[in-house]
Subunit: 307 residues, 2 copies
């Protein structure tokens, strides 16, 4: 099945307790596309970069079978740059700078050849742009969208409108609480199911993820990593692994959504092992399958009940 | 197998967004004993109350087959009282008052008939008192202990000494981070495994619990409750369900420890459905088994991998 990804392509400058990197490849569309490329190819990426976007990044994306017909290159502009610093407790981070550059006036233009796409993943961008993407394409089988507190606060009405068109909403625990004004995560998730999406996935960082559909609740454990080098992009990678698996299998049953959540968790667990997208330079399908199976043991227990 | 429980017996005054109760039965030893009584009886409870401890509470404990030979009754004193208020987000609570009363000078005295007990559960009390209990008894098969930030900060040296004698330490995520000065929960848990306990269980409230042994890591999902009336005692109830199952089965294998964690989670999930220990007035073994099985589905996914 075909998969369209729309979002940011960026250069990140990141400090963690383990080191610092400058102007490394990042952006929601990049992480989503690369993660999904392990399951389905080519990936149709729509985004924007400046004239400073290096050939090595283009080559990396093409090597991962990411189709760049939809990547706008504004030669006279600069690529979106983001800088962040993670604390010793990696759950806490400060944004050091956000230079939108060419991303500031980004208008997603969907190439004709992409208008008929089976699966669509809308990265964390302005809900107005998410709507603008959906207006340009034929109704896909599934639209999955990400969002963040910035849009929940600043673009609430537009976000509510976009939600009605999403099949799957992925967001983190703080975001779902803010969106619904409900502290209980399960209640909050169910409220989202009344706002449009048929599926909600709540990412809980070190505590794993929860999937909610009208007929199921599924808790995915976290992968017990002891060394997390760089959490940047983990959420986007999760979304990419999730939608990649769905697009590969074309099966929207609750049981397959659970598997997709575990594949998303698996890809995300690899992502944070190195800076930027570095882990995906040598990650193999065999390693992915191996870790997917490890996930099973993390929460498995026998039903054996004493007499 | 026999089970000895040592801890507080108290009257709680609790405010939650759902209501307020005054001077209801509480205390770590109470919750632990009642939860464990679903698996193994009689429970040997060691604690202290004042002359104001009502007959109805004595009757409730006796009905649950809790042996009260070790319950000191100081007629001229008053029972320990605690008051707390939970916020709309039930993860946050304020302590309104703590009147130690007879608990202030509590010295656990282990009756002769209890000195040989197979399983021992030390509720969240001063580590000096936990040590004092262990000095009075023959070496049990397993000692499980709880602690809290108050002792981690104020009785660190004594706690470290007690830890060397524990087989299982149960504590929450904030506490294990404080004890080990390590923000990564898995790393923190492994550090505790080097401090004495062979098993660590980290309670994560709404995010479930993690079990760590030298050979396994197991994530128990939370039960997806939408209405939590009163979180008081959930942690103690977890410990009681855990040790109750272990004492019943007398099986210390990793696989059985996992089951015990799920039984602990199951009992805790019932505890919070009503105020105080009210839910245990009519909770049946059938309901417990039913929910135990529900837990399995919460994190189960098929290994089926697409070709």
């Amino acid at each position: 099945m075909s998969l369209l990804v729309v979002g940011s392509v960026a250069f990140d400058t990141i400090e963690t307790p383990f080191g610092k990197v400058e102007n490394v490849l990042g952006g929601s569309a990049t992480f989503i596309s690369v993660a999904a490329s392990y399951f389905v190819t080519p990936i149709r990426l729509v985004g924007v970069v400046g004239g400073d976007f290096a050939d090595e990044h283009i080559k990396f994306l093409i090597d991962r079978d990411v189709d760049l017909e939809g990547l706008q290159v504004i030669k006279e502009g600069k690529t979106f740059r983001w800088g962040g610093r993670y604390h010793y407790d990696l759950n806490v981070r400060d944004t050091l700078f956000t230079d939108l550059n060419v991303f500031e006036h980004f208008k997603p233009i969907i190439p004709d050849s992409y208008r008929k796409t089976t699966y669509v993943c809308l990265g964390n961008i302005d809900p107005i742009l998410q709507l603008c993407v959906l207006e340009q394409i034929e109704k896909p089988r599934m639209v999955i969208g990400d969002t963040m507190n910035f849009w929940i606060k600043g673009r609430r009405d537009e976000l509510i409108k976009t939600l009605k068109l999403l099949d799957v909403l992925i967001l983190n625990d703080a975001e779902v609480r803010e969106l619904t004004n409900e502290p209980n995560l399960i209640c909050a998730g169910k409220l989202v199911l009344n706002m449009g999406p048929k599926v909600v996935i709540i990412k809980k960082g070190e505590h794993g993820a929860v999937l909610l559909t009208p007929s199921t609740i599924f808790f995915a454990p976290p992968y017990p990593l002891e060394n997390i080098y760089d959490p940047t992009g983990a959420g986007d990678t999760f979304a990419g692994g999730f939608i990649g698996w769905i697009a590969k299998t074309d099966d929207l049953s609750d049981e397959n959504l659970k598997r997709a959540v575990i594949y998303g968790s698996t890809l995300a667990s690899f992502c944070v092992e190195r800076f930027s997208l570095d882990r995906f330079k040598d990650l193999t399908n065999f390693e992915i399958l191996d870790r997917f199976r490890e996930f099973k043991d993390l929460s498995k227990f026998d039903e054996v009940v004493s007499e």
